[in-house]
Amino acid sequence: MDIRKPFISLLQGRISQSRQLLLNFMPSLLAIFGFFLLCGVVVHIRGQNALEFYGIIFSSGFSSFDEFGYVLFNATPLIFTGLAVAIGYKSGLFNIGCEGQLYVAAFATAWTGMHLDLPAFLLVPLCIAAAMIAGAVWGAVPGYLKARYGAHEVINTIMMNFIAFALMNYLVTSIYQEPSQMIPQTRQIHETARIPRLASFVPLLPDSNPLNASFLMACGCVVFCYIFLQYTGWGYELRLVGNARDVASYGGINPRAVTVWVMVLSGALAGLAGVAEVMGYRYRYLDSFSSGWGFTGIAVALLGRNNPFAILAAAVLFGLLNKVALDIDILLGIPRGLFLAGQGMLIIWLVCIEGISRKKNDT
């Protein structure tokens, strides 16, 4: 027996695995490349220097720890919403309702942080739990309606978004508005409900940098989601229901129950984006604070092909783009909307690639 055989096969396995991985992420890499190329072309057509534009992108994101801190800060809520969308997607559900879930969660956090006067070791976990529960409830309703009545979760999550906007707007403007203020926002949460900024640990970050501990929480969620999906029985059930619903049913898995708890989990994850905003940054609830994080989460999940670690990378990329969009607007006068348009095209491109490959697998 050839003693080298197991090693060779192991090596071959590795190579085919990494080839598979490369193939899997090829459309995403192409999309990113194409996106930046297209941006350069637009800048060139406008009669500006494309190289200068790329220089600004680089310096806006990576020229100092401070700049990079802002990129990660922008990325934090997108990691949560990206994971939330991906968890749903893996089980064949579309959670379009992240936006509403994170609003409700942010308000629940702010309410808990305002009204309970407890030491930090109690209040911080309580506030986080409040956010996760609120987000989970907002996600569970469409999940339950889908499982019980077969109502399409896309429509119901969209409806729940609008209900959340209206409800939160009512609560903030009519009941909990900060006295003697015109801005629709609540008063501040207690000092003990705030989570620290990373600048207080990392000497290289200036104190003004808003990057906070919620980013570490987001990284923790990435690892959690990876292990959960890949190595636990629940994760297996979730993926099985997403890939082969009938097989799952025959195997004794109840797809309806999976539908409900996946939406619960997804809503709770989206809710953590509210924690990042309220406990980590603004220390209060501001009406319509999110600039479409729930929807950008869809783009993040698509770009990351629903792989938690790739979602982290995709969220950082979008964090960079959000920051760059601002700098480009100021320095070159290129409107921010172009990046939004680019984001839309990115989504359509990726979803088309996915559609083609799905069709190819079917036949």
């Binding site: 309606l145 429509i155 909307g337 990046f339 348009a341 839309g344 989504i347 359509i348 069709k359």
Partner: protein, 277 residues
């Protein structure tokens, strides 16, 4: 007291009604259309840009409709030809439309509105208000009384039936989506022509509301447009704000009602069998 809410109701319901009819064509052909929002937005944008450029509202209307149909074509190519996930495509198109319009024209100057027609007993409204019932009835007849409509619906109900008649599902789905763009674009044009300007994100969720009306009306033109009038009335109540009901409650009423209808307690709401496949 209720009567003076009618003008606002009509003005609010008309753009929704056109978009909802658009949604019905697309969904009846089996394609989920979340891009109604983007189609309305780009329609409104096109109307204002076209009118500004030539100071002719007819040309503006054409440009608006053209832009919306263009976006619909993108939807059709992605979902029908490339089998892209319909829900995500719709969201992507909405973001695309928002980005394009926002970067090219954050806020416009004043433009002329579409011509108003003075009718006895009814009053003076934009001609599109009178057009809506005509399109509604025409859509009903077209979809449910003609072989043409039967085929379009077959694309959404039973692909086998289409295949048995050796008809192309692709063709009928393209047609459904393009009609959807045309009608949603008309809704957007009306919206811009009534307020006389364009501002970024001005549709403010009306496309999604129209989609709710489609479901509320059980994917049928007559009931769908009736739902739009109900939603328009809720908005009129909200704007008049006479009974101290929190505006946010009236605001979210259409969404709550749609969720209840989807549960199947009130009437039956059944989507086309092959919707989304």
């Amino acid at each position: 007291m209720i009567l003076d809410l009618i003008p606002t109701t009509l003005r609010m319901a008309t753009p929704l009604g056109f978009a909802a009819l658009g949604g019905i064509y697309s969904e009846r052909a089996g394609v989920i259309n979340l891009a109604l929002e983007g189609m309305m937005l780009i329609g409104a944008f096109g109307y204002v840009v076209g009118t500004q450029a030539t100071s002719s509202t007819e040309f503006g209307l054409l440009v608006g409709l053209g832009f919306a149909v263009g976006l619909a074509l993108l939807h059709a190519v992605a979902t029908v030809t490339f089998h892209a996930e319909q829900v995500v495509t719709g969201i992507g198109l909405n973001i695309l439309a928002l980005g394009i319009t926002e970067s090219l024209l954050p806020t416009s100057k004043q433009v002329d509105g579409l011509p108003h027609w003075q009718l006895p007993f009814i009053g003076s409204y934009s001609f599109m208000v009178y057009l809506l019932p005509v399109v509604m009835v025409a859509s009903h007849v077209l979809l449910f009384k003609t072989p043409w409509g039967l085929r379009l619906r077959a694309a959404g109900e039973s692909t086998e039936a289409l295949a048995a008649l050796s008809l192309s599902r692709t063709k009928w789905q393209y047609l459904g989506i393009l009609l959807s763009g045309l009608l949603a674009g008309a809704g957007g044009c009306f919206l811009a022509s009534e307020v006389h300007y364009f501002t970024k994100g001005m549709t403010a969720g009306r496309g999604y509301l129209a989609l709710a009306a489609v479901i509320f009306g059980n994917w049928r033109p007559l009931s769908g447009v009736s739902a739009c009038f109900l939603f328009g009335f809720a908005t009129a109540l909200e704007l008049a704000n006479r009974w101290n009901i929190p505006v946010q409650l009236l605001n979210s009423l259409p969404y709550i009602l749609t969720m209840i209808v989807l549960m199947g307690f009130v009437g039956t709401s059944r989507p086309p069998a092959s919707l989304g496949k």
